[in-house]
Symmetry: C2
Subunit: 150 residues, 2 copies
């Protein structure tokens, strides 16, 4: 299950939306971003690191340095944001190192496979939205679009 005390995805979406809302082409410091998202500047950099490696944002050091989108906000889906941050971590929650009984091993194998299925379902539903959608406040519209695949 998703106790989800992890806010990286939320912060990432917030920051990217902020960057998408910047009209002129200057870079934004992690300090400014951190104030907007109400978190620590270092945390912003830690979150944006994977997204930079994924090619979604660029960063520059030095005076007038900071962050900017590397891709148009309309082209960045939330799935592209989620994947790098999620990595290989399970979406549901696996448990226990290695159960002794056969039932345990069976269940564990099943849950591992299941987790991949669920992760794919999450990713698929996130593909529907882009950073630009969030900027427009339009993510709730898609509520009405059912997942016909399920």
């Amino acid at each position: 299950m998703a106790g989800s005390t992890n806010t990286q995805f939320a912060v990432a979406v917030h920051v990217l939306t902020y960057l998408a809302g910047v009209t002129d082409a200057h870079a934004v410091s992690s300090d400014e971003l951190s104030k907007s998202a109400n978190v620590n500047p270092v945390y912003v950099r830690r979150v944006l690191g994977p997204l930079r490696r994924a090619g979604l944002v660029r960063s520059r050091s030095g005076v007038n340095g900071g962050w900017e989108l590397a891709v148009d906000a309309r082209q960045i889906t939330l799935e592209q944001v989620w994947r790098p941050l999620q990595g290989t971590q399970p979406v549901l929650g696996l448990h226990g190192p290695d159960p002794t009984c056969a039932t345990g091993r069976n269940v564990q194998k099943a849950l591992t496979a299941l987790d991949r299925t669920v992760a794919d379902a999450v990713a698929t539903s996130l593909k529907r939205f882009t950073v630009h959608d969030i900027l427009d406040g339009q993510p709730e519209a898609a509520q009405s679009i059912p997942m016909t695949g399920g």
Copy 2:
């Protein structure tokens, strides 16, 4: 995101599978279940509580008491297991109490709506499997069934 250090769903699936594998009609104590799942008996009772309220299992106190399925294992989907345990907790991770800036409020509203969408996607994908499927070790078969809705 799902740091998912929460193992309730995994334990629930394990325990229900164990119960599904019991051929004769006697109840199983939370102590026996806890040994199978390699967790604490009290934790088993805490996890099964919501599932009892959801009508999936029954429990009896006293000598020869314990737990048993209230429904055939073929009728219990993993979505029915997941929902009561997840409750209203976010699947992704929201953050921050109440951002001051407009961007923040926009993002937060969007993420809340988004979380419902994702939760539905998870639930939908979990509907494909039953406890009996896990007992048979057949949850990986559905890997090949794509989510056409994405």
